[in-house]
């Protein structure tokens, strides 16, 4: 990958965010904040037949958090929830790789534009930024009733997945 964390893909998504805006028709809404830098995002999802049929978001913050949320939206809309969760997991692994990710080609294909965030994983303080929208999406899906026990509730990111290191 090229030297800059700010690949053109990221800047493009930041300047022209996709699926930004909060749809009227939704099953769940969550609001996540990264308390260390004030980045925030609101995500609404609609599920049907085991798939994410719609997702929209609004947010404020650095280009990484906003672009990542934009990329995430494009990737998960229309996907079966299970696939979206698997993708979220792959992205999480990528972010926790400290710059040493060993992605399979299949994973790379799945992640698509999201691969551009690989450079972020070297910067512990930025990982939460890249994860913000993805974690919100996951919470929203759970909030919408997906999965058995999963009822995380809206609110701040309470797990440590995005902690440095």
């Amino acid at each position: 990958m090229s030297e800059s964390m700010y690949q053109q893909i990221i800047l493009d998504h930041y300047k022209h965010p996709q699926h930004r805006g909060l749809p009227e028709d939704f099953d769940a809404e969550v609001h996540h904040v990264n308390p260390t830098c004030g980045d925030e995002v609101t995500v609404r999802v609609k599920l049907a037949d085991g798939a994410i049929v719609d997702l929209g978001w609004d947010g404020e913050g650095c280009s990484i958090s906003q672009a990542s949320t934009s990329v995430m939206s494009g990737l998960v809309i229309g996907k079966p929830v299970d696939d979206a969760m698997a993708l979220q997991d792959t992205f999480l692994t990528l972010m926790q790789s400290r710059g040493n990710a060993e992605l399979s080609e299949a994973d790379e294909d799945e992640l698509d534009d999201a691969v551009a965030f690989e450079g972020v994983s070297k910067y512990p303080a930025r990982i939460k930024c890249a994860l913000l929208g993805w974690m919100a999406m996951k919470s929203a899906v759970a909030e919408a009733g997906w999965g058995a026990s999963a009822h995380n509730g809206a609110g701040k990111i309470a797990d440590s997945a995005g902690e440095p290191g």
């Binding site: 800059s4 700010y6 260390t36 830098c37 004030g38 990484i64 910067y123 303080a125």
Partner: protein, 421 residues
């Protein structure tokens, strides 16, 4: 010795590093300062030649290391112009120093003989709105434990007084209900230098204990605890070109001698019995367990290092850097200084925002040009709340900072603006 920044830079091995293929421009000293080789060597030499545990041992190595450790206490006492070496307590960092006081005060609730330090509902603890979290949270927790109320001296967020305490509020917030006043000497988020003597005098007038957070003052200004008039002054070693893992709490002896202990363990006791214990006199009462021996010794070396350069010389060097940097940054379109906009009563730490560009992106893109600055709320979130912003970008200078580096910063910020427009 005339101050020469190029000579100084040679003392810091990391300054010859490259980052992203360009020479490092380290403008994050307020976060943590780099270390001169003598400080690095001080720790290494102790371990390689004179190491054992302190205080407890009767053998030669034990005596050498104890003399080195206690010698560092002498150096710090001289650095602060403390009346007595027994007033110097080594802590892990300033965060621990402030918590030590907050816990010692709440221990007074159940500690026989410490009645005068007890806090009860109705009592007030005062901090300012520009405190570092390390000088807010311990007092919030103390208030929670005792039922006392925590109050904040507000700051102005605009106008000529931007980034300064609201002067008229000082005498109001500090009043006869106040039992503790803990405030920052130089703000890490704004660069503001506060009127320490004025606030300490007001605290004294109402009979409150006064505590000065000198984390950002110790590396930049001559400190004289007798002149300041406060009861406690604390700083942290890693910002004073010293190692991580060591900080200092200075306190008036008569207060230290009466305060209940904080951590219990080896070295802080007089005698331990299954039925109860009695405690050593200060400073050992407050130094439980094996101390950060090598780090305290190396902090002594760091104190020697800055003293040899001269704190007034360092202050003068950084003052001109600050004026130079403010001038340079203010040429950038839309850039807003968060804090005092002139070099008067402020230190070498400059926070700013750029319209439409998040501080994280500014800092990250500066890093890609080799320039290390910090972005965030700088552990002083109430400042950001007051200014209505999520975060700032902050450049901070030290004894090794040059005007060339500040030029690089100004150019770098311009480049960031281009990328985002």
């Amino acid at each position: 010795m005339a101050f020469d920044v190029e000579t100084v830079r040679k003392d810091f091995p990391i300054l010859s590093r490259e980052v992203h293929g360009v020479p490092l421009v380290y403008l994050d000293s307020a976060n943590s300062a780099q270390k001169p080789q003598v400080v690095i060597d001080a720790e290494a030499d102790l371990y390689a030649n004179h190491y054992a545990n302190v205080a407890r041992a009767v053998h030669t190595l034990g005596s050498e290391v104890t003399n080195a450790y206690e010698g560092a206490r002498d150096k710090v006492a001289a650095f602060l112009n403390a009346p007595s070496r027994d007033e110097i307590i080594f802590t892990r960092n300033i965060t621990e120093a402030l918590n030590l006081l907050a816990y010692s005060l709440s221990n007074a609730t159940t500690f026989p003989g410490a009645e005068r330090f007890r806090l009860v509902p109705g009592d007030e603890i005062v901090v300012t709105e520009m405190e570092h979290h390390s000088n807010i949270v311990p007092w919030q927790l103390l208030a929670q434990r005792t039922g006392a109320t925590l109050r904040f001296i507000p700051i102005d967020a605009s106008g000529p007084n931007s980034g300064r305490l609201v002067e008229s509020a000082i005498d109001d917030v500090i009043n006869e209900r106040t039992k503790v006043v803990s405030f920052v000497y130089q703000s890490n988020a704004l660069g503001t230098i506060n009127p320490v003597k004025r606030i300490a005098a007001r605290a004294k007038a109402v009979g409150a204990i006064s505590i000065v957070d000198a984390a950002q003052a110790a590396p930049h200004l001559p400190l004289d605890v007798q002149d300041l008039g406060a009861d406690f002054v604390a700083f942290t070693g890693h910002k004073l070109y010293g190692p991580t893992g060591v900080g200092v709490l200075w306190g008036r002896y008569e207060l230290l001698a009466q305060l209940p202990p904080f951590l219990g363990g080896g070295e802080m006791i007089e005698t331990v019995d299954v039925g109860g214990s009695t405690f050593a006199v200060p400073p050992h009462r407050f130094e439980a367990g094996t101390p950060m021996i090598a780090q305290a010794v190396a902090l002594g070396t760091a104190v020697d290092y800055v003293t040899a350069i001269g704190m007034p010389e360092i202050r003068q060097h950084e003052r001109s850097l600050t004026a130079y940097a403010l001038d340079g940054l203010l040429t950038i379109d839309g850039l807003r200084i968060i804090g005092p906009a002139t070099a008067i009563d402020r230190g070498a730490t400059i926070s700013f925002t750029l319209p439409g560009i998040h501080p994280h992106d500014v800092a990250q893109l500066l890093d890609e040009q080799g320039i290390a600055v910090r972005a965030g709320h700088h552990c002083a979130r109430p400042v950001c709340v007051r200014y209505g912003i999520p975060a700032t970008t902050r450049a901070s200078f030290g004894v090794y900072t040059t005007t060339d580096e500040i030029d690089a910063l100004v150019r770098g910020v311009d480049t960031v603006r281009e990328i985002f427009t």
